[in-house]
């Protein structure tokens, strides 16, 4: 699962509220769609949990259901407290998990 973290705007200071975009390349199968050739149901495979952590403290936890679009996007706000590391952990209903991180470097 490929992931991408974007922080908007690119430059920010301590105390600023920034938007964190987390994108994951994932099919988000609902388990109700049928294979076009065989007619068999495609098993459900979707991201069911996303956690945002700053310096290993949870800032936002999300419980996700299959009604999110393919290659889902999650945006949250974050008030920058200091220099640190932002970590995002995404888990799927099949027990797969992916971890990605981004450094938070406020200027000024």
């Amino acid at each position: 699962m490929k992931t991408l973290i974007k922080i908007k705007p690119k430059t920010y200071a301590v105390g600023d509220i920034v938007k964190i975009d987390f994108m994951a390349m994932h099919p988000m199968e609902t388990g109700m769609r049928k294979d076009k050739d065989t007619g068999a149901l495609i098993p459900a495979n979707y991201i069911d949990e996303v956690k945002f952590l700053f310096n290993d403290t949870v800032i936002t936890k999300m419980v996700i259901w299959e009604s999110l679009s393919v290659n889902p996007l999650f945006t949250v706000s974050f008030k920058v407290p200091s220099v640190g590391t932002l970590k995002v952990i995404a888990k799927t209903n099949n027990g797969q998990s992916v971890e990605s991180s981004e450094s938070i470097t406020p200027k000024g």
């Binding site: 609902t30 999300m62 009604s67 974050f78 008030k79």
Partner: protein
């Protein structure tokens, strides 16, 4: 007399037309496969609030397109106008739909570290319906807002 019989037959025909699509859609619904997480909107709402009252409020804003050409990708943004400090903050934002097989989209548990109560994503909608956001405040109250989205091509299936 002629006019009266014409009117009678006309109203009968109109009634037929009105009933037919309803019958067709009921048959379609019976054909649908029940998903693994099938849950109605009423059940999902009760599970979140635990039977507490939900107040529609202008503090909660749901930004979604009024007309979505493609139901597979509908951008949704939820903002809650509230302070975000230890004493008073938005505990959670719940995004629901009213007509998908599973009425739940996402439950977002926020903390004061977020600075503001905001959540943005893209969801799938199977047809024209409401997107509802429920904000769970730190004092235990629930605020809500909704936006009707007209879907031209469904996004499930």
């Amino acid at each position: 007399m002629e006019r009266r019989s014409f009117l009678k037959s006309f109203t009968a025909a109109a009634a037929c037309v009105a009933v037919l699509p309803r019958m067709a859609s009921a048959a379609d619904e019976a054909k649908k496969v029940a998903g693994p997480n099938e849950m109605s909107y009423a059940t999902a709402l009760a599970a979140i609030t635990g039977g507490k009252a939900v107040v529609e409020s202008a503090k909660v804003k749901v930004e979604a397109p009024e007309i979505a050409e493609n139901g597979a990708v509908v951008p949704v943004k939820v903002t809650v106008d509230s302070p975000m400090n230890e004493k008073e903050y938005v505990k959670a934002i719940h995004v629901l739909n009213t007509k998908n097989g599973n009425a739940r989209c996402a439950n977002i548990y926020l903390t004061p570290a977020n600075g503001e109560a905001f959540f943005g994503t893209r969801i799938k909608l199977g047809g024209t319906q409401d997107v509802v956001a429920i904000a769970q405040m730190s004092d235990g109250t629930f605020l809500s807002a909704k936006q009707n989205v007209k879907v031209t091509i469904g996004g499930c299936g």
